[in-house]
Symmetry: C2
Subunit: 203 residues, 2 copies
């Protein structure tokens, strides 16, 4: 009998800017409101016994946005990373650390630190950068295992370059709510939905 709990779950917390605009705030104000939902989701994953979590923080493409936005998501990302490290996560940051866009304070997490639930944060990540590693010994994300389930907020029905290799067999679940409106029920529903998906892996 198969365990129907996903081992590794990916999250794409999209919709921060649209959330802010809907409230008459400047776009960049949304990101700070994404931190606390992330911490609630982290605690929920721990409680549910998820073994590994990957979160799409920001990409190399995202860094082409206006600098006020770049600063805002960078800051939110650092705050979240340091807080989960403090709470005992086994934190790995996956992204191009050779670029100035990579936050210096997160460099030590390019090697996994800690012994709790595995948390992979994609920071200054790019799918092309990731795959380029294959020319030299393996994916840049090779320490990240295959994904079972991916949940995306903000209504987009696409991966947007999120770990293309680890995503090949992942079930993909989309929520229309914007990420700052995260509710633990969203993830509970995704877990229930996941149980009912047929998993043949091509066999």
């Amino acid at each position: 009998m198969k365990n129907n709990l996903p081992s590794h779950v990916g999250f794409i917390p999209d919709g921060n800017r649209r959330w802010a605009v809907d409230r008459g705030l400047p776009k960049e104000a949304g990101y700070a409101h994404g931190i606390e939902p992330g911490l609630r989701l982290y605690e929920q994953c721990k409680k549910r016994g998820i073994k590994e979590v990957s979160i799409y923080c920001f990409t190399q493409d995202n860094t082409k946005r206006p600098s006020v936005q770049k600063q805002a998501f960078g800051k939110a990302c650092i705050a979240f990373a340091l807080e989960i490290a403090r709470r005992g996560a086994a934190l790995l940051v996956v992204g191009d650390e050779t670029s100035a866009q990579f936050p210096k304070v997160l460099k030590k997490f390019r090697q996994r630190q800690g012994a709790g639930m595995k948390m992979n944060l994609l920071v200054n990540y790019g799918w092309e950068w990731d795959l380029a590693g294959l020319k030299n010994g393996g994916l840049h994300s090779k320490e990240v295992s295959r994904l079972d389930l991916i949940v995306r907020w903000g209504g987009g029905c696409r991966l947007s370059g999120f770990l293309p290799v680890q995503s090949v067999y992942a079930d993909f679940c989309v929520r229309d709510e914007y990420w700052p409106d995260f509710d633990p029920q969203h993830f509970e529903h995704a877990l229930t939905w996941f149980k009912n998906q047929d998993k043949t892996l091509g066999g």
Copy 2:
């Protein structure tokens, strides 16, 4: 003003075996019922002005299935390929032609033949095989362009290894109907839905 018609559409025609079982037929009987829907969809794409189409025929993993199934999907795949070639498609077959599982009669289409709408059929395809090309000059599927839209039948919300690199920004649309129950309205709805998707490509 952006043209909201996708240039390149991928199709995952899943559910042939479940369709057969629902009718009290042996599983392998489903595949033959997938050919005529494929030809209707081909004509619909041509009529709508789609420039390039990729279809998931069978994978290296699929060839591990019972041989009666393997023979049935192989035969359906060859019949479909030869018929669209006859109708003037610019046909490219993408898959590992060095294996005995690759149909000999399709070998000449490992180089694109013809000058009509581009049709890429994934035959004895594997995402690992595809990516392995990166170690030697490029993806094995490097002649296949980036996908804008992917439509899958049979209810599965996952890519199942379908062109992971070309799929990075594709909008993904799922139909619950089994593939042999294809109706042109399914694709019309997908095109309408696609128009309303926000496309930022990470910017």
